[in-house]
């Protein structure tokens, strides 16, 4: 008879999730899965609504990354109103959106590292859960905890001034933006009292990268081998190969660095990417069509972005990028825990980009919106904190949305997260006579590295609430529970 270990819910990730690990009589892992249990149905919800409402409506998908959905939907609507993609907007429109986006990246990455990941690194994966949390960090490493709080606050305030408000921001509209940045608003971020100014944010971001590198030196084996596995990587890159989190073309590389998706236009994504539904999960499994369901899966997010980009267009982050790339001799980095390193380099990049934008006089100009010839279909893509985000809409002659397809970052990472869970289960749980809390937390650490946002990611329709079924080695059902 198989034994089943259930970790429910996965602690310290956004939303809900569940992991099941099936062991046989000898303690070997026979199956492990990350299950998604929350049902959202957003693609159907937006059908029938006027297209211009989409950028505001879709923010309800998630309370942690509403800006990513807001901007991806707005980019799709840019296409629909004939404003084109990327640089089709006015300089003020595009740069205000970029500032909003970098604020989002900055606050989300800071929240993830300081709030979700740092307890595992500072106290150890097998530390007492009573102290392995942000309160524990606050007690023992107060300065780090305060930095995390203030960095998130800074990013949130950038979002507020660019999106108009913290909840259901309205800043991005089809074809542009509805406000610019006043001099007073700009000065607050450039010259605000310590620590709430951009120079301090850059300094702290650099400290965080150095903190990780120092930790890496002391715990090299853990960081380099934990849940490491070869994979393809996918992200947007700028047309010249630079990292670009807001706009670009789709590039994918394999585990050796060979390009397997050659900088294609996001409007054509359906020619290259499909989604598989598996009967045990609400979350779909995307894959590159050319390589099929079995081999076409890929990773997205900070690690993937550093693997696909040729360079980072900001000086401090570029210097860190060069060190990051040198560690794997220029080859793609397939070590899951290096996701944290990549995330912190991106945090630094986001801070540098915010400074560059805050110093740009285009943000005070008044030419906010462009329009062109309306079409009935548009795709909006960007690099959300957790990875590549696809928004695809079709509308009818009455301006109503008739079709929406969203592939959110966490859905793109569905297969990799399942593989990461299997890696940890095989290496740390298989063959053990006793399953410790530390071992179980190790599974969660592997998932947390991807920073999944499970409540965003579940939107397949027509499914009943998930049931958990337990079978023995002869396929006899021995237990069943509804979530």
């Amino acid at each position: 008879m198989t034994k089943k270990i259930t970790i429910e819910p996965v602690t310290r990730v956004e939303g809900h999730g569940k992991v099941t690990i099936h062991l046989d009589d000898n303690g070997n892992v026979v199956q492990s899965r990350l299950h998604i249990v929350e049902f959202r149905g957003f693609e159907r919800f937006v059908q029938g609504r006027p297209y211009w409402e989409a950028p505001v409506l879709v923010q309800r998908l998630c309370g942690i990354c509403p800006v990513s959905h807001h901007l991806a939907a707005a980019k799709a609507m840019d296409v629909i109103v004939g404003a084109g993609t990327g640089d089709g907007l006015t300089p003020t429109g595009e740069k205000m959106r970029r500032l909003m986006h970098y604020g989002q990246i900055f606050q989300s990455h800071a929240l993830h590292f300081f709030h979700l990941a740092s307890p595992d690194l500072l106290f150890g994966i097998d530390a007492d859960p009573a102290i392995r949390n942000i309160i524990g960090v606050a007690m023992k490493f107060k300065d780090i905890a305060v930095q995390g709080v203030m960095m998130r606050k800074f990013g949130q305030e950038i979002i507020e001034v660019t999106a108009g408000k913290k909840i259901h921001g309205t800043g991005a509209i089809p074809g542009g933006i509805n406000k610019n940045l006043s001099i007073e608003e700009r000065n607050r971020f450039l010259y605000g009292p310590d620590p709430m100014n951009i120079d301090k944010m850059i300094s702290w971001s650099l400290d965080a990268v150095n903190f990780f590198k120092d930790y890496h030196k002391k715990h090299r084996e853990l960081i380099d081998t934990f849940a490491a596995f070869p994979s393809s990587h996918l992200s947007l890159v700028r047309k010249d190969g630079a990292m670009d989190l807001y706009d670009g073309v789709i590039r994918a590389v394999d585990a050796e660095g060979k390009k397997i998706l050659h900088d294609v236009d996001p409007q054509d994504y359906l020619k290259y990417i499909a989604e598989e539904v598996r009967n045990w999960s609400y979350m779909k499994f995307p894959y590159l069509i050319e390589y099929g369901k079995k081999d076409g899966w890929y990773r997205v997010g900070p690690l993937a972005r550093l693997n696909t980009a040729d360079f980072i267009p900001s000086p401090l982050a570029q210097k860190e990028f060069e060190e990051f790339k040198a560690y794997t001799n220029g080859k793609p980095n397939n070590m899951s825990m290096h996701m944290h390193w990549a995330r912190l380099i991106e945090t630094l990049h986001a801070a540098e980009m915010m400074k560059e934008l805050l110093n740009d006089p285009d943000l005070q100009k008044d030419d906010l919106v462009v329009k062109g010839t309306r079409v009935n279909e548009g795709v909006g893509m960007l690099e959300a904190p957790r990875g590549t985000l696809f928004h695809h809409y079709r509308i009818n002659e009455n301006d109503q949305i008739t079709m929406a397809n969203l592939i959110v970052s966490t859905t793109n990472n569905n297969e990799p997260m399942n593989i990461a869970v299997r890696c940890v289960a095989d290496s740390m749980i298989a063959g053990q006579k006793e399953i410790t809390e530390g071992m179980l937390n190790a599974v969660e650490v592997a998932i947390r590295a991807y920073d999944p946002c499970l409540s965003c990611a579940t939107h397949a329709l027509g499914k009943m609430p998930l049931e958990v079924s337990l079978y023995d080695s002869k396929n006899n059902l021995i237990d069943k529970k509804r979530t």
């Binding site: 819910p9 996965v10 602690t11 310290r12 990730v13 956004e14 939303g15 809900h16 919800f45 409506l57 923010q59 309800r60 309370g63 942690i64 509403p66 929240l111 300081f114 709030h115 979700l116 009573a130 949390n133 942000i134 309160i135 606050a138 007690m139 107060k142 905890a145 305060v146 995390g148 709080v149 203030m150 998130r152 606050k153 949130q156 913290k166 909840i167 259901h168 409540s455």
Partner: protein
């Protein structure tokens, strides 16, 4: 005396927006009455930076929609709690207060206003019953905010 009123919830999920609606209405009333010392905020959910936001206040009142078995609204005192939620979508007021204490060595008097809600679908509007509960809570606090010291000396009233 510095007072923060902070409503949280998703206004796109019907009655989950009760906290945000409370803030909108109460802020207008406080401005109209010319009362001083009040700050207002609202968000989807509480998060770690809120520990900073409450650190310089004498009194903090969080407002949230409630699924609890209560009549219309009730008030409770918040105590520090290091118990983490499994998701950052739902940091509790006690968790924020605990973080504030650990990071800033400050512990403002903190209350939680629970307003009863009923429906949680993808709609902007409150249900009629939730609107009625909101109205009752607002009327109660209009009286209290004229003299917020009374809330610091707060004892859980009977409803």
């Amino acid at each position: 005396m510095k007072v923060l009123l902070y409503g949280y919830g998703n206004p796109g999920r019907q009655d989950d927006g009760l906290g945000n609606k409370f803030i909108n209405r109460m802020q207008k009333w406080v401005n109209k009455e010319g009362l001083e010392g009040f700050e207002f905020d609202s968000n989807y959910q509480l998060n770690i930076e809120d520990a900073d936001a409450i650190s310089d206040k004498d009194l903090v009142i969080f407002i949230d929609a409630s699924k609890e078995d209560i009549q219309d609204f009730c008030i409770s005192k918040v105590t520090e709690s290091s118990k983490m939620s499994f998701t950052t979508h739902s940091a509790s007021p006690g968790y924020i207060l605990d973080l504030c204490k650990k990071l800033y060595d400050k512990s403002p008097v903190t209350l939680l206003l629970h307003i009863k809600g009923y429906e949680w679908n993808f709609k902007e509007e409150l249900t009629k019953k939730a609107e009625e509960n909101l109205e009752k809570a607002i009327n109660y606090f209009k009286e209290k905010l004229i003299n917020p010291i009374s809330l610091i000396q707060f004892e859980i009233p009977e409803f």
